[in-house]
Amino acid sequence: MKHIEFRLTGSGGQGVLMLGVILAEAAINKGYNAIQSQSYGPEARGGASRCEVIISGQDIDFPEVQQPDVLLALTQLAADKYARDLKADAIVIIDDSIELSHDPGTKNIYRLPILVTARDVVRKELTANIVSLAAINQILGLFDQAELLEAILHRVPKGTEILNQRAVDAGIELVQNHAG
Amino acid sequence: MSDQKQLTLKREWCKGCGICVAFCPTKVLIMDTDYKCTIDNIDACIKCGLCELRCPDYAIYLKEAEDGK
């Protein structure tokens, strides 16, 4: 397992924090090392909330993301602020409502209708984070579906299993359609 | 006097809380798809100023007509 740095961003209520926690837990379950951190204070409640995850096969010494391998942005504000200082071949995943105000320096850009999908396909806006997670996993191929689902179900409220399964499916599909 | 006032929205300050919409007595206002306030039915506005009074972000108000302009 190589060292992968994720920066997951969006607005306060979009659950990017939970996304990061689930991602890190999935990694740990699989025997990898992982750390997660996030922004605090007013920033975390505004439109540019930030969650960072590092997954690695080694010890993770430096506790912050230095150059993301993966950037997720669910709001314009977040994209404006965080789509910078990426690795040259970083993967950028943004909601399709966002217009990139500058060149993020990588060609690997996925503009996916995440929010609309959560609202209209999954029928629950709050699942945008799970949709995103599934999309990320689909792109990177980190976990198999069962592993991913186990990590998700460990954290989401009881009774939302089917909803989350739908969100995962939708996320996968978004990438498949994009790729296709 | 209140006739001279004009309902004004400073959209960039609106955070989309919906308070003005909820308490406008004549349903002048709606939330748009960007979750921001929009003046939907200006004709219904009775210039009561309640939206201005309760907007936490000073984004909507009755602008006073400027003399001689």
Partner: protein, 382 residues
Amino acid sequence: MANKIALMQGNEACVQGALYAGYRFYAGYPITPSTEIAELSALELPKVGGKFIQMEDEIGGIAAAIGASIAGTKAMTATSGPGFSLKQENIGYAVMAQIPLVIVNVMRGGPSTGLPTQSAQADIMQAKWGSHGDYPMIALSPISVRETFDLTVRAFNLAEKYRTPVMLMTDEVIGHLRERVEIPVEGELEVFDRITAEAGKLRRRPYEKEPGEIVPAMSVFGDGNRTHTTGLFYNETGFPSNSTENAKIMLDRIFSKIYDHVDDIVQVEEYELADCEVAFVAFGSTSRVVKAAIKQLRADGIKAGLLRAITIWPSPEKQIRALAEQVDHIIVAEQNEGQYVREVQRIVEGRAKVYHIGRGNGEILTPPELIDLVKEVKHATK
């Protein structure tokens, strides 16, 4: 039983460690970035019959926690910068009255309200010198989430063993970091419980040590001793004494119980020190950055190493002195404008060159900066 593995936050590990150590009382006042310690304590303590109380301020927080400890309960309070300043008077009280207590400071950017959501390591000197008068202090600083767990347990142990407040000086980076943790199973870590006066056996001089005691056993409310606790200088009866001779004895006692046992109290980690030419001294989250830098430096053929102070107070004088004999350059890396470096300079007494790298503006150090400095230092001496 196999260790459970979990993704755990530093502040959570502190609470879990405390529970492991037998913690049953929290009193405090919320402040970023320590608040999760209060929040999790509020959630967990009632489950084990313990108590959580949110006091009116930080002074009330430490006062209630000391009260609970006097009453016989393992107690903790947690805070950050401004709250740590407010607690200083009663930290001195706990030292003087010899009350076990764990005080957690999750450091953030300062001075004053400063940068509440950014990290810092700038309350390090305050941990030792923040209260008035002369007193010794034990302070520990964890490098990771798992070590937060372990050192919290250790803080409780030391507090009980030496009847004194112990500080856990962590920082925003570690406090808020979620990390992979192997949770210790019961029995894996030592838990030191309070040595209490034998029930029924009354002590006429409750502050007199009995043979074999490091500190006099504490009375328990209800054991018939009905002792007196005070923050004035007191003699072995526990009652105040105005005499300077007694004050001397007492000062000596609160100092020597710590300084006579530095080898028990002081812990360090020696990382790549054996053959090292340029050594870092660091603690807490910054030592992670140092380790990352050292790996890179070693890959580049430069023999760097780290002496990590796990116990920051009392400072590891012996180890730092030995290090100064070994290397010519010691770099103190810390997230502040230059604090612990002064302690290192004092101990080194010119036997090695001491450098400081750090800043108090909330921005953590990065490996490249450390690497550059090491190269510069090495270069300058060629």
